[in-house]
């Protein structure tokens, strides 16, 4: 123990950059965001940004953003859970998992760009629709295309934690449930799902928070029609240069994020203690 203590003292110099990083790039930026949220566009100290946030325009935008994030998370979960479940039953499951994760390593913007072609007026989807006799539809710049592309991008992030949770599940429990006469559905609802709910929670966390703050997909696919909290922050910082209002929205996004993390992470921490 004393040796370790000694080592700790001697190695202190090496850890300075790390603590400097915490101070400068973790704590300071958050404080700066809070600080800026009290200034309006003319650099006057004011609470007007907060007052503005509680006007119908911004509240509606927040609700909208929540609604879209909820839909994205919901559809990702509905598609990802069965996928993860089937994956755990395959031979060479690590390889299949790797193949599922691989598309998430392709630059997000390239994937969004691909959908510009696929959903375009003369794109593949419209050709199929025409072939089926439905005729051309406006797909790009609609809610549907925004949701589809977002779900597409987030699915791997949902599959991974659920897969890991399913892997940890003791298979004898499932056998026991079946031996005791439970139907497949009961086994799923009463045994498998409750035991993998931690994976579901971390998956939802990994999807919901980024989904609230998406802005590039909104701009490229939804064509400014769908405004999310992320789009609003980007707009205030980079286009209208109203950093104060942008910071205020960011403050609320941070608060929302903390609440979500407390909701989805509570069980794990209890387990640790």
């Amino acid at each position: 123990m004393m040796m370790v203590q000694m080592m700790k003292n001697k190695s202190k110099w090496y850890t300075i950059p790390y603590y400097l990083w915490i101070a400068l790039f973790v704590i300071a930026p958050v404080l700066l965001i809070v600080y800026y949220s009290f200034f309006d566009i003319e650099d006057k100290l004011t609470l007007s940004n907060y007052a503005k946030f509680f006007t119908p325009v911004y509240l509606k935008m927040t609700l909208n953003s929540f609604w879209y994030a909820f839909l994205i998370t919901f559809f990702s979960l509905v598609i990802a859970y069965p996928t993860a479940y089937i994956l755990t039953k395959t031979k060479h499951k690590q390889l299949w998992l790797l193949l599922i994760i691989l598309p998430s390593w392709i630059n997000l913007l390239l994937k969004a760009y691909a959908f510009l072609g696929i959903f375009g007026t003369y794109g593949a989807t419209n050709e199929v629709l025409e072939f089926l006799g439905i005729g051309k539809q406006q797909i790009l710049f609609t809610d549907f295309s925004f949701l589809f592309v977002s779900v597409y991008i987030f699915i791997p992030f949902m599959i991974l934690p659920i897969f890991n949770a399913l892997e940890k599940l003791n298979p004898t429990l499932v056998d026991a449930s079946k031996d005791l006469g439970a139907s497949a559905w009961t086994t799923f609802a009463k045994v498998i799902f409750p035991l993998t709910v931690d994976g579901v929670k971390s998956g939802c966390q990994a999807v919901f928070i980024p989904a609230l703050s998406l802005f590039m997909i909104t701009r490229l696919i939804a064509g400014n029609r769908v405004i999310t909290l992320g789009t609003a922050i980007e707009q205030h910082f980079l286009i209208t240069q109203d950093w104060g209002m942008g910071s205020t929205i960011a403050v609320f996004l941070i608060i929302i994020m903390i609440v979500i993390m407390m909701l989805t992470g509570s069980k794990k921490e209890r387990g640790v203690r």
Partner: protein, 267 residues
């Protein structure tokens, strides 16, 4: 083990098709002489040739790679020492606090990281460009390295270090001959993750980059906002194969590391 039912296989195949279709769609049309992402006309290498003649784009690719390698390396060095420092903390309260602070940048949405860094650099008077992008990338890579290295440090038995000290090793020797070799797989994994995070990042870079400096993601965004150009398709085909090679390489390296680790235990 039961065989998979037909419906399960069909479902899985469908998910795979949907996940890969857009990527192959992009690659397919990169050979289209027609110039749009529909109506495949004739096979051509035209877009690839154009890509390799576009020096501006090549400079951007180079920038992206330099930023990724530099930020991942620096973040790995800082992160490894951070992880060692966290693992040696005795007080649980302090340790949990530091860990939470460490994870802030992992869970924060990119927009917030980007916006707050933009304020930070502006206040410090750091010119937006190479330096601000590099610093930001280092900043969001550090916690990933810590997260990847920490489990390795925790599974290392403290008696290993005590033994080394008892045998008269200096702390520098303990570090280089005991700790670092033991946690090496974690360090590689952390470095690799940092590399992919840096290569992939768009939002943070978009906020903190200035006029003269651009990375690939930012460039793709501005090109894509202008509409379809098959240069991007050619570029994405190349990137896809590079990613594929990297992932396959990583898969085998990590498999070998696991095997080596296992045989080491057996001996």
């Amino acid at each position: 083990m039961k065989k998979l039912s037909k419906i399960s296989v069909l479902y899985l195949v469908l998910v795979f098709i949907i996940l890969y279709a857009p990527i192959f769609y992009l690659i397919f049309y990169s050979f289209n002489s027609g110039g749009t992402m529909n109506n495949f006309q004739n096979f051509t290498w035209k877009w690839y040739k154009e890509l390799f003649q576009d020096t501006r784009l090549l400079v951007i690719v180079l920038n992206t790679v330099i930023i990724a390698l530099l930020s991942a390396s620096i973040a790995t060095i800082i992160g490894v020492f951070g992880a060692i420092s966290i693992s040696m903390m005795r007080r649980k309260q302090l340790r949990n606090t530091i860990l939470s602070l460490n994870n802030v940048l992992i869970v924060s949405p990119d927009v917030i990281i980007g916006a707050s860094f933009l304020i930070f650099f502006t206040i410090l008077g750091i010119k937006l460009g190479f330096v601000s992008v590099l610093l930001s990338h280092i900043a969001f890579c550090i916690p990933i390295v810590v997260i990847m290295v920490l489990p390795k440090l925790q599974e290392m038995s403290p008696t290993l270090m005590d033994a080394a000290f008892d045998l008269g090793a200096s702390w520098r020797e303990v570090l280089s001959k005991v700790i670092l070799p033991y946690i090496a797989p974690g360090i590689y994994a952390g470095f690799f993750m940092a590399l992919t995070y840096s290569l992939d990042d768009f939002a943070v870079t978009f906020f903190v980059t200035g006029n003269g400096f651009s990375t690939l993601s930012v460039e793709i965004y501005s090109l894509a906002r202008r509409g379809i150009s098959l240069n991007i398709n050619a570029l994405s085909a190349l990137l896809f194969f590079i990613t594929l090679l990297l992932v396959i390489g990583y898969y085998f390296v990590s498999k070998r590391a696991v095997r080596r680790h296992k045989t080491g235990v057996n001996q």
